[in-house]
Symmetry: C2
Subunit: 220 residues, 2 copies
């Protein structure tokens, strides 16, 4: 597609996604989309013939965006912990930058034609499995604890996807702060470490006691 | 409300929520709901006058369910770590047991009358703040690490709420397994602890070395 045409197409989809998010896909009309873009309906038809085509394009571009970014990480030579960090940061950035697309993608599945819905579900499933493979590799290599990879990935993606619901671009957090907080939680958990290292601490105390006894014996 | 009437009302709402989830709220009709329940439309009107009333009731009962369960935890004398565990377990159980309600609650906000949508958003906000207070208390008391409570709560609730999207009641995990995996991740993180305890390990090695030197000195 030539660049100018591509740019107009992108602008139409952004505008449609914003409207679908605000008013719901079914309530929105092509007339409103044309009005928002200050475009005539015939010009709009030169890009999309129906609201349904826009919905399909928005959904397809959303999952393709995720897939493209994951592929970059998968092809890298990074270790599984660094791969997972990249995935989290990319995912947060993508959701925050494309909130309307994500809202449509996650809320309007029942409005998609079944054939397209199935294709998208399959692509989404491949993304989930790709992230799962990174977690599983980390467990195998002993970088990650022995966690159930699939459940952990569903939990993690829930944490990341949910951003489309609550994130406020005018609010106090940027993408970097959100991913730093989420990564810190995902990597280290919320409980203070001291509660988790009693064995080491006990051994340390025992050694100290023994050293003290030796020191006293030497003094005698 | 008398028990029998209450039971019929519950059955109507469950059936409506299932239909809204499958076909989307706007596409569903009162005729279909009546047909699914094998009820006449006049009998259905004895409970709800419009589809919109059902949507409002489903949304209200969802947030009231969460609020009720949180209140039980808040009134308890438990420590913040145990309170958070209860919240996670209850939340997982509630989402899994009420998937259709949750789907409607999270997907059909734009279809609610603005006044009701605002009231529900305020109640949802109180729930978020209630969970946040538990995390903040844990941080203050040194049970939890020094995390940004609000971001952590949004992340955690995303993980829990997302269940309505992917959980399959015919699948391999029950509510207990899901909350155990999520709690393990939230409490301890995914990284292996050894990567987090280098300082302790170094001190242990130094002590061992010193003990060895003392032992050798004694042997001389």
């Amino acid at each position: 597609m030539e660049p100018r045409r591509q740019a107009v197409r992108d602008r139409i989809l952004r505008s449609a996604a914003d409207l679908f998010r605000e008013r719901g896909y079914r309530a929105a009309t092509l007339d409103e989309i044309a009005a928002r873009l200050a475009m005539s309906k015939p010009s709009l038809y030169g890009y999309f013939h129906a609201k349904e085509d826009m919905l399909a394009a928005i959904s397809r571009e959303t999952i393709e965006g995720f897939t493209r970014e994951l592929a970059l990480v998968q092809r890298s030579a990074l270790g599984p912990d660094e791969k997972l960090r990249r995935v989290v940061r990319q995912h947060v950035r993508f959701v925050i930058a494309n909130r309307s697309f994500l809202t449509v993608f996650f809320s309007e599945e029942p409005s998609l034609p079944p054939r397209i819905a199935r294709a998208l579900a399959a692509q989404k499933d491949r993304y989930d499995k790709g992230v799962e493979a990174i977690v599983a590799e980390g467990v195998r290599r002993g970088v990650f604890r022995d966690v159930p990879a699939r459940l952990v990935v569903f939990g993690m993606l829930g944490m990341l996807n949910w951003l489309y619901k609550w994130y406020n671009p005018a609010g106090r957090w940027g993408a970097e702060e959100v991913s730093a907080a989420f990564l810190d939680l995902l990597e280290g958990g919320i409980l203070r470490a001291r509660a988790r290292g009693p064995a080491l601490t006990r051994r340390l105390h025992r050694l100290r006691r023994e050293l003290g006894e030796v020191a006293r014996a030497l003094d005698d």
